[in-house]
């Protein structure tokens, strides 16, 4: 285990109650600064559960997660300053406006007002939110909502970014904008972990991919390594082979 890893997941188990089976069964991996790690898996594999634990919203039943050297259970408040969690499950108040929401979260993250105003302008300009900044969230398109979400989640410029299904429900144009932005963040040296069930996203963005099947990492490596290890030409075929070998009907 290297000390400079931004995210360390160490033998993590998770079950919701005593009588239910484990959802996550002993997952371990690391993400370094400047690296994009992708969790690829079918629905129900446990991606969201894992992402929630990394973001401290829920706790591992056993095992440990460390973010920038901080324990996810004991130091959760400190970790909040270092992570940005983006998920379609966390929504924006439909009756508020991007403008007000940005100010609201700037205040929660104790960002001085003047600094926040400058940041807001830059960030809104990057995503083209400017013209919509005073419209109600409920009136915005899905793509615009996602962009507002990203702008707000990264308000404190966190070194670690957790991104659950980043391009879910977005059109091609917005998708491209989001992936480009993520690559920009990666180049700034941030550690990014994203979960997806879309091959193209995993292939284009991720430096390393972990394939999650039934709550276990069935295989891990770069796209090329994974494809080669299964003796296939296409990454897609390699994924299906790994899935079939590791999936057991309950």
């Amino acid at each position: 285990m290297s000390n400079n890893a931004a995210i360390v997941v160490d033998n993590v188990f998770k079950r919701y109650s005593k009588n239910t089976p484990d959802i996550i069964k002993g997952v371990s991996f690391e993400v370094k600064p400047g690296e994009v790690y992708g969790l690829l898996g079918p629905n129900g594999a446990g991606k969201t559960t894992l992402m929630q634990m990394i973001s401290t919203l829920s706790r591992p039943s056993s095992g440990q997660i460390r973010i920038c050297g901080l324990d996810s259970v004991k130091d959760s408040l400190e970790i909040h300053k270092k992570i940005g969690f983006l998920t379609t499950e966390i929504k924006l108040d439909p009756l508020s406006t991007p403008d007000k929401l940005y100010d609201f979260f700037a205040s929660l993250y104790s960002i001085p007002e003047q600094e926040a105003a400058i940041k807001k302008e830059t960030s809104f300009a990057t995503f083209g939110i400017g013209p919509f900044s005073r419209k109600k969230i409920v009136e915005l398109s899905t793509g615009m909502k996602q962009k507002v979400s990203i702008a707000i989640s990264l308000i404190h410029e966190p070194p670690v970014i957790i991104f659950d299904e980043p391009t879910n429900g977005l059109d091609i144009l917005t998708s491209k904008q989001v992936t480009d932005y993520l690559l920009g963040l990666k180049n700034q040296g941030r550690a990014i972990i994203l979960s997806t069930h879309i091959f193209s996203v995993a292939e284009e963005l991720c430096d390393r991919i972990g394939i999650l099947v039934d709550g276990r990492i069935a295989a891990e490596g770069t796209r090329e390594e994974l494809t080669a290890s299964q003796g296939k030409d296409k990454f897609e075929d390699a994924f299906f082979k790994i899935y079939q070998e590791n999936h057991h009907e309950p």
């Binding site: 919701y16 629905n43 966390i90 979260f105 205040s107």
Partner: protein, 736 residues
């Protein structure tokens, strides 16, 4: 501590409540309207006290004349002034004011003129005009006016008339001695003061409570629970703000949102000149703030425990009803509560606010300080629990993985906005229907009684009543009088039958059915399912009711609470007649709460909530009855719950209709006890409370339903039914 974050969160919670821009629902409108009416009434009573008084007064010249000379009678006839009574009162005791007071009270007089005997003869013989005494009541505002009227116009005019009659000048103006003794039993308050005190001790605190509860519910369920439902809460949890600060911010925001309307009302109230003014307001303010904090913290606790606005509002409703029930019990004891109540939160707030507004109770100020300390301790405990709960996953994220989440309710549960409206409707139906038909049923007997002397006496005795509890007691005295009249029993019986019909018509109109036997199926949906076993069920219910009440009587008798005093044989006819009323009465109340309300709330929400709500409403409906106590509210709730469980298990309300009728009949007409505060005059068995009976066991003036004996009988049965239902499930499910 990040004060800026707290401020931001508070602002968000406050904005969530809409500040003053709360949604204009029907409830908001009703609350505002009742406040406006109450406020105007109070102001009007201060500015024009005589106007309110004159409503109660049949004639301002209610004059009683003692030893009336013939010439005075003639004079009154000439000027056309009516006297209260044409009887001639004669007495030698000119100074016996207690006799005159008694006369004034029994005859409804305000001024008594006492002439010496042989007045006409003395005057015609040319002697000096002897003294004429004037006695006057002081307990009415109007009495001074009447006194002046008698002295300045009537007596002056009469003396002129006497001079003309005798054709000679007599002493110009007679010495008029005025004795202003009041009736010793009447309190030294006038109608306006009484009304103001009633408003201060009952109406104003009640309206404040309801407005705070309503505003707190609006914003408190919308934050946290609403944020969880909308998926916006996790973003706040992910910020580096500690849980304690999140709760504190929300607490401040919800409190401000709830305090604002209450504060405006309170300022207006203290502007009323008779109340304690700015000093009182400053004393009341901490009490008000602590109340708001208490309600806000409990609302937030509910919000933390809930996953959606609907579930939070559902959980909040019992709290709402409990608070309103406490308010009602406070109103019944306003001004007479023992000191300990001033220390208990909620009770202390209600009594304390009333006392401070009236400025008549220095202890209210002292005790309110202790009450505030207790309240703040509860608030702190509640905040602590909230913070602990927010540290556990169960109450923070409900994000689980995509597939797990699909278990969202699929059985068409209702949407957030319509639930409070639906429940309000359910609560209104019985109230509206009962008040319309019971009033109608009272009309014939009221018309009959207005012409009798007994009625005049009752109305007379009502003049001294200035407290709410007094008005209640008065109306139940009247009801007791009516209850012995066959006409009343027949018209009430017709009224209950009409109510049942009303429900049937309502169901037929609102719940459309296809196919045959519509009426019969509508009846079944109201719990009156017609099958072969119907008669058996009904009589089984009657037996159940008789045995339950006999058990209660036995307990009361064995523990030495009541004494058996013999049998009234000659009342059997009247007793049997009263069955005519109890038969539809039992069926009607069962129809309202168990037949109509219970299955319909179950359909919209769930069984447990439906049992709770219908029983709580049943209990609350009886809260205006005389002698209602917290114990009575618990017992009525238990009885309602017992009947609800029976009707749930049997699938109809035949058993409970029989049991309800038999319970009331046995209680009142057979064993001679009070039925929910109503005293029945015709009972088969004469029963009295023993000298050392305890109100806690017997229920005092509310009857056994307000005492422990009933708790002892109902509780084991409820447990038994719960066990049976848990074991077998329900047997018949047509009603559900």
């Amino acid at each position: 501590m990040n004060l800026k974050a707290i401020k931001t969160l508070a602002h968000k919670a406050f904005r969530n409540s809409g500040g003053l821009k709360t949604e204009g629902t029907a409830l908001t409108f009703i609350i505002l309207l009742s406040f406006a009416i109450a406020y105007i009434l109070v102001l009007v009573s201060y500015v024009f006290p005589w106007r309110l008084y004159s409503i109660w007064e049949d004639s301002p010249n209610t004059l009683l004349v003692i030893n009336e000379p013939e010439t005075f009678g003639n004079y009154l006839d000439i000027i056309g002034l009516p006297r209260t009574n044409s009887d001639h009162f004669q007495t030698d005791a000119y100074y016996d004011f207690s006799y005159f007071e008694e006369l004034m009270r029994s005859r409804g007089g305000i001024v008594v003129l006492v002439f010496p005997k042989g007045f006409d003869e003395t005057v015609s013989e040319g002697g000096e005009i002897p003294e004429i005494l004037t006695y006057c009541r002081t307990d009415y505002l109007i009495s001074n006016k009447t006194k002046d009227n008698v002295k300045d116009s009537i007596l002056k005019g009469y003396l002129g008339y006497v001079q003309d009659l005798n054709g000679k000048t007599v002493a110009l103006y007679p010495p008029v001695e005025t004795a202003t003794y009041g009736t010793p039993t009447a309190p030294q308050t006038d109608m306006a003061t009484g009304l103001l005190r009633f408003a201060a001790q009952s109406l104003i605190p009640l309206i404040l409570f309801v407005s705070i509860l309503y505003a707190a519910m609006n914003s408190g369920t919308n934050i946290i629970a609403g944020e969880k439902e909308r998926g916006t809460f996790a973003a706040i949890l992910l910020s580096p703000v500690p849980r304690l600060q999140i709760i504190l911010g929300d607490l401040i925001g919800v409190s401000m949102g709830s305090l604002l309307p209450a504060l405006i009302m309170t300022i207006l109230v203290f502007l009323i000149p008779s109340y304690s003014g700015i000093a009182g307001f400053l004393v009341a303010l901490p009490l008000l703030i602590s109340l708001v904090l208490l309600i806000a913290s409990l609302t937030i606790l509910i919000s933390v425990l809930s996953d959606s606005v609907v579930s939070a509002q559902t959980a909040f409703l019992p709290l709402f009803f409990i608070m309103v029930t406490i308010c009602v019990t406070c109103i019944q004891n306003a001004g007479e509560a023992s000191d300990i109540y001033y220390l208990i939160p909620i009770y202390g707030h209600f009594y304390g606010l009333g006392g401070i507004i009236c400025n008549n109770s220095p202890k209210a100020v002292l005790y309110s300080g202790i009450c505030i300390i207790f309240t703040l301790l509860i608030v702190a405990a509640s905040v602590y629990v909230c913070v602990k709960l927010l540290s556990s996953e169960r109450y923070t994220v409900n994000l689980q993985s995509g597939d797990d989440r699909v278990k969202a309710p699929a059985d068409g549960k209702i949407k957030a906005k319509s639930l409070p409206g639906f429940i309000l409707n359910q609560a209104w139906y019985p109230l509206v229907i009962l008040s319309i038909f019971q009033t109608l049923a009272m009309l014939p007997v009221l018309v009959k009684y207005t012409s009798t002397s007994a009625f005049a006496e009752i109305v007379n005795s009502m003049r001294g009543v200035t407290t709410f509890a007094g008005v209640l007691k008065f109306s139940f005295d009247l009801l007791g009088l009516f209850l012995s009249d066959p006409l009343f029993i027949v018209s009430m019986s017709a009224g209950y039958l009409l109510m049942i019909l009303c429900y049937l018509v309502m169901v037929c109109i609102r719940e459309k059915l296809e196919g045959k036997h519509k009426i019969r199926r509508h009846m079944a949906s109201l719990g009156f399912e017609l099958t072969k076993g119907t008669a058996g069920k009904y009589f089984g219910g009657v037996l159940l009711g008789i045995s339950l009440m006999s058990l209660v009587y036995l307990i009361l008798n064995v523990t030495g609470q009541v004494r058996y005093e013999g049998i009234n044989k000659d009342t059997i006819g009247a007793i049997l007649l009263s069955l005519l009323m109890w038969l539809p009465q039992g069926a009607c109340e069962e129809l309202m709460f168990r037949g109509y309300m219970l299955p319909r709330i179950t359909k919209k929400t769930n069984k447990i909530f439906a049992f709770f709500l219908s029983s709580a409403l049943f209990s609350l409906l009886h809260s205006m009855n005389a002698g209602y106590t917290p114990m009575a509210s618990v017992n009525l709730f238990l009885i309602a719950l017992l009947f609800a469980l029976i009707s749930y298990r049997s699938g109809s309300i035949w058993i409970t209709s029989g049991a309800h009728t038999a319970w009331n009949f046995c209680q009142g007409n057979f064993y001679g006890l009070q039925v929910s505060g109503n005293e029945l005059t015709t009972a088969f068995i004469k029963t009295t409370y023993t000298a050392n009976h305890s109100d806690l066991i017997t229920g005092g003036s509310f009857g056994p339903e307000g005492g422990l004996a009933v708790t002892l009988v109902t509780l084991p049965l409820i447990v038994l039914l719960l066990v049976l239902i848990k074991r077998d499930g329900q047997k018949a499910d047509r009603l559900w």
